[in-house]
Symmetry: C2
Subunit: 344 residues, 2 copies
């Protein structure tokens, strides 16, 4: 990407939870913006959002919307990405796509800037932003890669905002109904599009996204496949369980990693403290460890409860938390744009 | 224990969440009762509870309270157990103790009736009820023991009722405050007795009970030590992470088990379907899997999401759920009493 003093930015899916977080992140990181175009589908457009205090009308996305755009941040779902990303690239924009559409495409870099910024070199116009639960795991694992990552067991505690603003509203609705009646009701969980729904309030559901034929969910397989691609370890073993919990915002992950070498918690803490944008919060005697509300509204990844497996000196256990809308989506996307500029 | 047509029962800690569940379980399982004495501390006594529709006054517990008692169900904390269990045994009662006081005592059987009923033989008056998160894990693992249990990775999703009725009330209080103000507040989580508290509403906290010097919590070490004792596998490797979630009732567990032998999900399902009081709910195509609200108010253990590790044919992953106040405490205690009678 060409170096300029300011850039012409478009946000596709601007009215969604991640789209709004993208706009806020551009503000918060003081991104050098010449112009900002907000785009959405016919159904969601014609609202007015604000950027740095100024109103910006949301326009209906069309192929021509991407004329004269330097960077387009996409968060409108995989089918919108498949329609508009080639159109945007054809018109000279770089697309940073938060959907799953291109993540496993071998011609598309899948990037966590703290982990594999070099993957941006030679991109062909589309750069994929990884899945939320993958990004925070990558920031933590990358800090430990020199010990030889072999096998990762991960159980997630995922916030409902990962399903979008409608899921946040649905959980609020369930809680309000419970406050009035003392009874739980079902709304849209675990997936709006399926026939069967369970209560999410005061419950946990071991289903994030749809089931695949192998008995794993799509969310679980993203943890496997995206981790291998980002870390560039095709043989990395990942054993994932993805679970939705009644948290508005902030994903947590219970992780056990077997390394090639023996690793003490102190060795791990030292590497993790030195890692960029990874905050070690690990003082059990002071009751300090990460939890979702600690991470909320920040772009950092938090790690704690770092301890050696009781049986295996080559295995460490820890707990990782990040804001899934920020580091897990919008913040990482804007960081990708910044990294592209820095490497230009 | 002597065979009789009906028994003289005492419940110590009758006013607590588990104590009340013990009374309900005696009713629901139609336990043969000649007389029921409800006991509590001076602070909690003098209330009137009901058993099968009849009022029963809660008396202050004294050593003499256990005269003429056949079976005493204890759930009043470890220090109360240490004071009253020897007194009750001296007076001829069998004590079934839900506290942690005697669980690891080598002269005390630690029993899950579906798993190790034989451990009751030759007891010396005290029988320990395992910790809630251990019991449901045992029911699931025992079904698979012939494949050779080697290493268990477990991450828990534990309900607040495991901390007692005051924690249920505290979470309700947090939710009510949030409904009115839109803000979360801290009450007593993760532990009433410590200085630092975090919000539990819309949050997850990787701390159940106090931290030990090895960086694990007491709850995590219970999973390790109690599992080894109940399964009678001293070398069983257990890698535990215990996490509190904003669920009123029902613990969930994400489990990965490495076996000596290769095991397919179908082999595991067949063994689990044949196991007593273990319900296999595992039809992802029908969106069927266990979740806490499915288990609530039942004495069964539920298992689903049974799948082979993507990398290791000797490792299976699954998700286990049970009502922590029932199978995890009161129900298991009453089952122990029934098993004692059946084996008398």
């Amino acid at each position: 990407m060409e170096r300029k003093s300011a850039y012409r930015i478009a946000v596709l899916g601007a009215t969604g939870a991640v789209g709004r977080a993208m706009i806020q992140t551009l503000e918060r990181r003081n991104f050098p913006i010449e112009s900002l175009k907000l785009l959405a589908s016919e159904r969601s457009a014609h609202q007015t959002l604000t950027y740095n205090g100024s109103p910006v009308e949301v326009e209906v996305a069309k192929p021509e919307s991407f004329e004269d755009i330097d960077v387009a941040l996409f968060s409108a779902g995989a089918s919108a990405s498949q329609i508009f990303a080639p159109e945007a690239v054809k018109r000279g924009a770089v697309v940073i796509d938060n959907s799953s559409a291109y993540r496993m495409d071998k011609n598309v870099p899948l990037v966590v800037p703290e982990v594999n910024p070099h993957a941006l070199d030679g991109h062909q116009g589309i750069i994929a932003n990884p899945n939320c639960s993958t990004i925070q795991l990558m920031v933590a694992l990358n800090a430990l890669r020199e010990f030889g990552l072999e096998h990762v067991f991960i159980s997630t505690y995922q916030a409902v905002s990962g399903m979008g603003q409608k899921a946040v509203d649905a959980l609020k609705d369930e809680i309000t109904a419970w406050s009035k009646t003392g009874k739980v009701k079902s709304t849209i969980f675990p997936l709006a599009s399926q026939d069967v729904h369970y209560p999410m309030a005061f419950n946990v559901l071991p289903q994030c996204d749809v089931f695949l034929d192998n008995g794993y969910t799509k969310e679980e397989m993203k943890l496997v496949n995206e981790s291998r691609k980002i870390l560039e370890i095709p043989g990395l073993l990942v054993s994932p369980t993805a679970v939705r919990v009644p948290v508005m915002n902030g994903h947590a992950e219970s992780v056990a990693v077997r390394f090639r070498d023996a690793v003490t918690p102190e060795m791990a803490r030292e590497k993790m403290r030195a890692a960029e944008n990874l905050v070690v919060v690990d003082e059990p005697s002071q009751y300090l460890y990460p939890h979702p509300q600690m991470a909320e509204n920040t772009g950092d990844t938090y790690v704690g409860r770092i301890r050696q497996d009781l049986a295996d000196p080559n295995t460490l256990l820890f707990f990782v938390v990040a804001d899934n809308l920020l580091k897990g989506a919008a913040w990482n996307a804007v960081q990708i744009a910044e990294t592209l500029i820095a490497r230009a």
